[in-house]
Symmetry: C2
Subunit: 374 residues, 2 copies
Amino acid sequence: MPEPEPIADFYAVVPAGGSGTRLWPVSRAASPKFLHDLTGSGRSLLQATVDRLVPLAGEDGVVLVTGAAHVDAAREQLGLADEALVAEPSPRDSMAAIGLAAAILQERHGDVVIGSFAADQVISGRDGFEQAVREAVVAARAGYVVTVGIAASRPSTAFGYVRSGAGLGVDGAPSALHAVGFTEKPDAATASAYLATGEYRWNAGMFVVRTSVLLDHLARLRPALHDGLRRIAASWDTGADARARVLADTWPGLEKIAIDHAIAEPVAAEGGVAVVPGVFGWDDVGDFNSLAALLPSVDGSGTKILGDTSAVIRVESAGSVLVPASGRTVAVLGLDDVVVVDTPDALLVTTRARAQQVKDIVAALRERGEDDLL
Amino acid sequence: MPEPEPIADFYAVVPAGGSGTRLWPVSRAASPKFLHDLTGSGRSLLQATVDRLVPLAGEDGVVLVTGAAHVDAAREQLGLADEALVAEPSPRDSMAAIGLAAAILQERHGDVVIGSFAADQVISGRDGFEQAVREAVVAARAGYVVTVGIAASRPSTAFGYVRSGAGLGVDGAPSALHAVGFTEKPDAATASAYLATGEYRWNAGMFVVRTSVLLDHLARLRPALHDGLRRIAASWDTGADARARVLADTWPGLEKIAIDHAIAEPVAAEGGVAVVPGVFGWDDVGDFNSLAALLPSVDGSGTKILGDTSAVIRVESAGSVLVPASGRTVAVLGLDDVVVVDTPDALLVTTRARAQQVKDIVAALRERGEDDLL
């Protein structure tokens, strides 16, 4: 079977932000989670994200939006052209990141469809992913803001959910549904109730939408943010000096808001959001416990090792997540389900059950002023 | 009060052997336990051992017996003269080590009293220690092999015991008792039963005896070993070449046996062993769990840190033993009673309850041929 063609007039936007403090000490402010190979695949999360988008958007159809501090590392990992890189002077949350990319692409190409895909997610099942995106693009062309809702494999309290309603009835997008609304991360009982209805899927933060539709919603709902982004986009390709001047004038004053709150939730309430069910493996690799699900077992003990397995000595220990990343030998004796992360300047020892709490260690380090370890 | 004088014609023998595999990765074959400061006192176990013997035996009264590989490190730590160092070409267990020192000292000084004190024990309560040794020396002059029996503070299964009988009735050694016999490490029930009788004390492996008495027992009980040691001792101070030649001829053929089995047990059965109760804190620092008892608490959590306390970040963790010895930051989250030992080339993570089993890690490394880590 020949490779399918990339989708015409479709661009993939990859917002790469967030420091991933729950994955400390692997993930650091200066070298965040998306720059790391957390699955042992040989590719960083960012590289794997771009790898899976190129078949859909084409070699020149991927735009990365990331902090200025990470542009060099991203360029080195990806070999992207300058016009495919949008460097943010400071973090302004996902609406500014995706909105700026949309405005720049509309300046360059007119009214096209964009899809936003975070740089730090892990997806398995490429066929299911591509099918969902292709359907989402069709629904987006019909004027909807389209999200991909992941079939929930467990009542997770770590993810938000999108609730679906009736079929959308758009030709070429047979599985697309109306999105009734979005929810924040639920408690365990609520998450179980969600699953029982069959109407709730994980909100993976993938949004597919025409640039004109997105910008029109933004102009209506967040006019100041819209105007600022359009002003920056208009100057973007008019020379480095002009871009820098407008960025310096405009960027710091932009509202910090997530696209979920700025667009997805209010537009869903108006009936303007669709959801395409995604049938593929998905994880946001939020912490070392979720990492475990992504790594192969090295033996019958359920131990998961990210890195050189020969660096590990394990005696009467099962179910642990071990990250030997300093070149040293890591010996674990008589402890189950622990997390040991060994980096050249910092060592973390905790349990899989406490993995979400690793951010408390980062907070404690920040409080102590140990910025070199953050 | 003036310092008491050293004991006349008394020499302290310090056998420094054993690799301390249960204290890996701090203790290594090339840098065993006795060379390390395991109490945070600023002195290695060996230095602390010699520090406490000099007031009893005098500056020139301490003789160290250790493996040839450790002589340089010991000399550097102690600043001992050459004649105070006995280098063993290979390990031949404690009878050969102590017997050789006894034979050399008898060649040099005639019939004197020696006391042997292992280099890797921790003692607190200097007055109690000195009083016990001074009594033991008096009993030894009367012809006994004298051991110091430590008041057991718990029914330990990690130590052997010495059982006492009737009073010895030697002037100047009022608390000395006949030793009825020795036991191997007991199980927990037996250990509890021992404590209930009041007759059993921990055998700390401290033996005080006249050189002539020791060598006569040895000549009778292990004649070949006795003859070999006397031959080496006779050549010891007759020049480096002669010493080396006799050592090379004789040492490899010497019987490997502990002084407990060679002398203490059979002589006790004959009524020739005395025990002086020792009223002082004593530990053999066998593993990281016993280390915990020797380290000060850093806070109310019962956490014990050997090394730089500022290198540790602890969140919801209590009762752990942490050894930050690589310069890196060690973060522990949500785990109690764990042991984390961080050295430049190897990391150990286990529990205090499994501390005795650390030797299994060393065995696994040996099996894998990772000799550089042993």
